[in-house]
Symmetry: C2
Subunit: 536 residues, 2 copies
């Protein structure tokens, strides 16, 4: 049945779509793989699959950090895993290029069948300041970063005297009232309120948790009565819900709403829908809203051997004719269908069209409450929460994870939340920042180790006289820099710098500056003469 | 007894010395703290204390990541915790300056009593390449970074064809045969050998784990028979032990030994003794081997109100007259003694001199084996391991941690090791690299996104003709750069670059380059003309 050369099936993406395709293929082609007639490959940026529904629980630490994710190698032991970033897809030559790992060797992977399961990506395009200051919530790293931010702001609030700064530190804003926003705000709210008890100088009544939602009622995916239950419960637990509200931008210490209102905050989480994966968007295929259009059998028309599933595919249900929603439930079933159809293609059998009716929808609301619609029944409160836990525990791949999560959940019933701040990131030498018109970048007298370069916009350098009057020293535009004196002396800032128009700047820290600039002769002489002029 | 203004006791450092000082003071001064007569403060870079003896277990994941650390706030609920880096200590004005957190405000803390418990720091001075390529093993972040490196090298080896590159990927070198080096190599060895089973194309027999030790027998702190037992056991489990061997340097893909031998490796862990904390070294106090000399009561002579404990203090035992070793056992007892002496000073009572005889020493050897010397008895094998676990579990501060660790250990008996690679660091835009004479920095035909600037040494650019003959194009020295063409085009490297002498270079990635260099006019014109000249 099979030819001499092994048939190569390559899956791109390590989410539900990709991993379940590999899992199903391993089962269906067990013999062929063992005989070397078929080779399975999967390319994923991470060596694990994130179990998205449990990600919010990482915030409160009620699940062990590693327990919401499952190693792909263990799930698919007979698939070659390439833990690499994909660089390009060449449909003409039937090959995929993955970036280099250690050293500088690229990987070129050839295929007979290709499954696109690349999902979508977080995109903050068109919202100034969000890329710099908003926290996304999609990957495990995001959940950890958010958890650390929450603890960090509590740490700072505990020793901060200035009431305005305290207010921003103790305000937490989540944008997006869909499932992921609601689950994130529920866990965040529970966690900061419980953790605050360990901080001597933080009063739980100072804490403000805000959920921004563009529509008139949160959880538009659910029936009205369940959404209303969820909304009421969150409000009772102290979440302030702002309906019909759109987030349009962010600064380092505020969320900017449509209409101009600002909420002072140091923690802004954005869970708003993400954009198409640029790798997919670049393919010369028929697209619909950034997704690859496939036929009823999940094959890409006019490209035999190319298939697409999950959030990166535009799929119409064969029975209902409706577009399939981008959920894990659907991705899993699409993966099983595509695997069967690939096997059918290898064996010269006919393909099956895809059809699936969602079993239900569930959203956790924190502290033993949830909402669920299962087989048409509406459930809310403790029973829904119990269902939520039980169903997801069953769905969690791998027995070891099931055991670990069940144990975590049991311990969590009796133990206080963990407030350890896990700093693993090292500071970047160079970072991008964004400032609104009128916003102060730094103040006279501040300490500062950063040099700034204007990349867009205009800023103004001002100095105050003793009677409080301000003199404008100079205005700086694109390509000009300020704050350089702090890099050669230990003195505080000698002037205040403020954005005149909306400005993007690059901040370079002392280490990066000294390492880089001091060794490059053209830069060294440039800065020496600049400092000489400005300090004269 | 006490005066009107609260007496301020400030503790610097969040290790065993600092935390146990605060713990003991909270107990002894319960009433005074409640009445506002005494204020306790503790400054620590992290908001948790690392329970060092369990750190190696983080490598294998047999303990949950957060379970080897305890939140200081929970341990010392009546102490004001400042989670900040200390910038300077001013003994004359009795004040300490801590760095800014969010925003740019420094904290100035005043004290009546000051306890120095700052420990020591990792220092790679004098060993070229170690700062760039060796992995330290002291903080929780180090253990996580090592764990990720192990998984990353296995991931790469699994898809690597070149036998030389594979060899370096599958060789793991630990330098230092003291307690921490031995415990680290034991866990590392167990973990990589167990994890390798999940990698389809890695054969456990390809794995090489090497321990470098400067002396003739590992574990010099223990009696000879125990050290020999440990050495034999590690060797039986596949660890190659190189005695009388000194690590003198490192490159990206090798460990350099005294005498010139190189071990090709992508994972070099260095646990060799660390240097004095620079903050302590700068104090105008009497020092002995980088530590602050204290009297028998742990007070710093001629500076009333200043005390020192732990690894940053040079303490002679009041009874034996011997210098106290830098161990957790001693730090804990020193902390309790200094707390009692501070209370005595506040109450005008006499101070007690410090004396303590170590109860014993223990070292874990992985997989249910250990060596221990307790009250003079020598124990090895399973019984020592059982003692090790039991004693450390008892010592672990906080009931919740005890429960979590006991659970982890139980699960670990039945579950396979976790092989999830947890990437939390983002790539730095600028990094330092070191190359030995003759070492290739990149090869013609390689892909590369980095621009290099020579900060020290000399490099040579060569191109090969079709018959394999090499032509030297140019030599570059300090302040000159190479590899810039890759930043403006997508083509592979057009030449090979090799270090002529020992060279330090800065590598700048494409993002940092484009962001920074493209906006600064002097740099832009410099690079435009450079590229024009070199591509002519």
């Amino acid at each position: 049945m099979m030819s001499q050369r092994p048939r190569r099936i390559l899956i791109l993406g390590g989410g539900f779509g990709g991993v379940y395709t590999a899992l199903t293929l391993e089962k269906l082609l067990k013999k062929e793989i063992r005989r070397g007639e078929v080779e399975l490959g999967l390319v994923s940026r991470e060596n694990y699959m994130v179990f998205q529904p449990m990600l919010p629980e990482v915030i409160s630490g009620s699940i062990g950090i590693l327990d919401t994710i499952a190693p792909i190698r263990r799930l698919c032991p007979n698939t070659n895993l390439y833990t690499r970033t994909i660089e390009s897809i060449d449909l003409g030559h039937r090959s995929v290029t993955a970036t280099a790992g250690f050293g500088s060797r690229q990987h070129h992977l050839h295929y007979d069948h290709l499954v696109l399961a690349l999902g979508n990506v977080t995109s903050f395009a068109g919202q100034p300041g969000l890329a710099e200051y908003a926290l996304p919530f999609k990957y495990l790293g995001d959940a950890l970063a958010l958890r650390n931010r929450l603890i960090h702001t509590l740490e700072e609030a505990d020793i901060e005297q200035d009431p305005e700064v305290r207010r921003a530190l103790l305000t937490f804003v989540v944008a997006g009232g869909g499932f992921s926003g609601v689950e994130a705000v529920a866990e965040l709210n529970d966690f900061v309120r419980a953790a605050a008890r360990s901080f001597r100088h933080v009063d739980a009544r100072e804490i403000r948790v805000v959920l921004l939602h563009a529509g008139g009622l949160i959880l538009p995916e659910l029936p009205k009565s369940l959404a209303e239950f969820a909304q009421g419960l969150l409000m009772k637990r102290g979440v302030e819900i702002k309906l019909d509200t759109l987030l349009v931008g962010a600064t380092a210490d505020s969320a900017v709403l449509q209409g101009g209102e600002r909420i002072p905050t140091r923690t802004l989480v954005s869970t708003v829908p993400s954009g198409p994966n640029p790798l997919v968007a670049m393919l010369p295929l028929k697209m619909e809203r950034g997704r690859v259009v496939v036929d009823a059998t999940l094959a890409v028309p006019e490209h035999p051997g190319v298939w697409a599933v999950g959030d990166c595919a535009y799929i119409r249900d064969a029975r209902s004719g409706e577009a399939c929603p981008p959920t894990a439930q659907h991705a899993t079933r699409e993966a099983q269908c595509v695997a069967r159809n690939i096997v059918a293609a290898l064996r010269g059998e006919p393909a099956t069209p895809f059809s699936f009716k969602a079993l239900g929808k569930m959203g956790a609301l924190g502290r033993r409450s949830a909402v669920a619609e299962i087989f048409g029944f509406k459930v809310s409160g403790f029973l829904a929460w119990w269902l939520w836990r039980t169903i997801y525990l069953m769905k969690l791949p791998g027995l070891d994870r099931k055991l670990r999560v069940a144990t975590d959940w049991t311990l969590d019933l009796v133990l206080p939340p963990d407030i350890v701040q896990l700093k693993t990131e090292r500071a970047l030498g160079v970072r991008r920042e964004y400032f609104e018109p009128g916003q102060v970048i730094f103040r006279e007298g501040d300490r500062g180790d950063w040099l700034y370069v204007v990349t867009e916009g205009e800023v103004e350098v001002v100095r105050s006289s003793e009677d409080g009057e301000e003199t404008s020293l100079r205005r700086l535009g694109r390509g000009e820099c300020f704050g350089e004196i702090a890099l050669v002396s230990d003195r505080p800032r000698s002037a205040t710098v403020r954005a005149v128009s909306a400005s993007n700047v690059l901040a370079v820290d002392r280490d990066a500056f000294q390492a880089l600039f001091a060794t490059l002769p053209p830069l060294r002489s440039f800065f020496e003469s600049l400092i000489a002029t400005r300090t004269r």
